[in-house]
């Protein structure tokens, strides 16, 4: 490695570790036709924080997270990370940004017909370079180290024995933890969890939230998690951001989000909010599995 490259690398690291925040959103807006899903959102997230984003359905939480990962393109505004403008990235730069901010979805988004291990190894795709990327593309041949990493991640969440099963044979809670393993294999700096527990029963929801907190505490990753349940947000997050109609209407510690504040912000009581979240969970529960016809 040449001196210039070392200097560039140091600059990169300095930019990441420096005074600049892990993530800064500046007037971030996304319109779908006439509706504004996310409306001039400004948000600073320092490294290592676990941020819960709450709001009723349609408040723009998902669009916000999907924009940060650039799955959605912002209509206007900026996403900055360590002083780098993420909104301007494309090609290799964009893929590396996506690698750095891993995404966990409500519907897990695993490849159902692939085995669990390969699903986890998908987190390594953005790391492949040169001939290795050809080996992976043609034969799914990941290195022994990468497979060991994947197994270690699965083992951490008690899923090692499912490694060779197809993803579709796993329960929702297990699939979500596999998705989290995939996220970890990306070696990200940021984890964006888009309603990760909205389709899970309470017990699995707790397992997944515990896993997310563990990733935040022990791996030092910044976590942004969309939630429907105020109680869950209070229990797990350092900071709560409440959204309503695309705007941030509350930003503070869990303690500051009192039932009175909830009422003032949403115009409904906390019980009503919880009931709405529960109704949504039931609606999101996967329909009974039907066999596909050949």
């Amino acid at each position: 490695m040449g001196l210039r490259q070392v200097a560039a690398l140091e600059q990169d690291v300095a930019a990441w570790m420096g005074a600049r925040g892990m993530l800064e959103l500046r007037g971030l807006t996304r319109r779908f036709g006439a509706t504004v899903a996310v409306d001039h959102v400004d948000l600073d997230v320092p490294a290592g924080q676990m941020v819960g984003i709450i709001g009723r359905s349609g408040a723009g939480k998902s669009t916000l997270l999907r924009m940060i990962n650039r799955l959605e393109t912002p209509s206007s505004g900026q996403i900055l990370s360590g002083g780098r403008d993420v909104t301007a990235l494309e090609g290799r730069g964009l893929r590396e940004w996506r690698r750095d901010c891993a995404m966990v979805f409500q519907q897990f988004n695993l490849v159902q017909r692939l085995d669990v291990l390969t699903n986890v190894l998908i987190g390594r795709l953005a790391w492949q370079r040169g001939w290795r990327s050809l080996m992976v593309l043609v034969g799914a041949r990941f290195t022994a180290e990468e497979r060991a990493m994947a197994l270690a991640a699965l083992d951490r969440f008690g899923l090692a024995e499912t490694a060779l099963q197809r993803a579709e044979t796993l329960s929702g809670g297990q699939q979500q933890r596999v998705a989290l393993c995939r996220a970890l294999l990306q070696q990200p700096r940021l984890v964006l969890a888009d309603e990760p527990i909205a389709s899970l029963d309470p017990r699995n929801a707790q397992l997944v939230m515990d896993a997310l907190r563990d990733v935040n505490r022990h791996d030092g990753l910044t976590v942004l998690v969309n939630l429907h349940h105020l109680d869950t947000a209070r229990q797990y997050c350092d900071r709560i951001v409440a959204m309503q109609a695309g705007r941030i209407v509350f930003d503070g510690t869990p303690a500051a989000l009192t039932p009175e504040r909830v009422r003032a912000v949403y115009g409904i009581t906390e019980q009503e909010f919880a009931a709405e979240a529960e109704a949504r969970r039931r609606a999101a529960e996967p329909a009974p599995v039907t066999l596909a016809v050949a």
Binding site: R95, E96, F108, V136, A179
Partner: protein, 216 residues
């Protein structure tokens, strides 16, 4: 010698016909393999849901259309002219048509796939080709294989007549005996072709069910 009307008289050239039938089956197999391979590569850019781009997507679709609209026999005439008389011309002609026909079916299979896994791979920083390989291919592989094997059956029929224009296989022989009005031989060859198609139909049906069963 009173052999006329006997089975030996009817099938007296069985040895060379059997060889020609074998060649015909090989032509069909090779053409299916090559055509399905090309179709697989073209189907991903041709599918409308994967965002292949405003240039690549229509280009792939038009190419597939061109390949399946032109009849095999016309391609065969062109290739006989280009590469000379023989099975190579037939294989190429059938392969091109197969690529066009299978490519459309493959692309439709891809379009009917849910994009959840696709978003998963893309959000992890996977490139377009990587997402095709890891998010889409595993989900569509059984139906793609099913289409390709079905096409193999169709291609055996095509390979049997494509020899009419000198593109190899049993078709050449069939054309010859038709031209000479050798009625016994016409019926004998037709019977053999039908038997071969039966055999391949049964075989590929079994293969299809076994492979797809194993992939489920």
């Amino acid at each position: 010698m009173e052999t006329e009307g006997s089975l030996a008289f009817w099938m007296y050239r069985l040895d060379s016909w059997a060889w020609l039938l074998f060649e015909t089956a090989n032509m069909a197999a090779l053409a299916t393999l090559a055509g399905a391979g090309a179709a697989l590569l073209l189907a991903f850019p041709a599918a409308r849901n994967l965002g292949a781009g405003r240039v690549l997507n229509p280009l792939a679709r038009r190419l597939l259309e061109a390949m399946r609209t032109v009849p095999e026999i016309v391609f065969a005439l062109i290739f006989v002219w280009a590469f000379g008389v023989g099975p190579l011309a037939g294989i190429l002609a059938i392969a091109v048509h197969t690529a066009g026909a299978c490519g459309k079916l493959f692309a439709e299979s891809i379009e009917n796939t849910g994009l959840g896994a696709w978003a998963g791979v893309r959000s992890a920083g996977g490139g377009w080709a990587q997402a095709c390989r890891f998010a889409i291919l595993p989900q569509v592989a059984p139906s793609l294989l099913s289409y390709a094997l079905l096409r193999f059956e169709i291609n055996l029929r095509s390979a049997s007549v494509i020899g009419f224009v000198g593109a190899g296989g049993i078709g050449e022989e069939l054309y010859k005996v038709i031209a000479f009005n050798y009625y016994e031989e016409i019926s004998a060859i037709l019977l053999l072709v039908i038997l071969a198609v039966f055999a391949i139909d049964l075989l590929s049906e079994r293969l299809r069910h076994r492979v797809i069963g194993a992939m489920r």
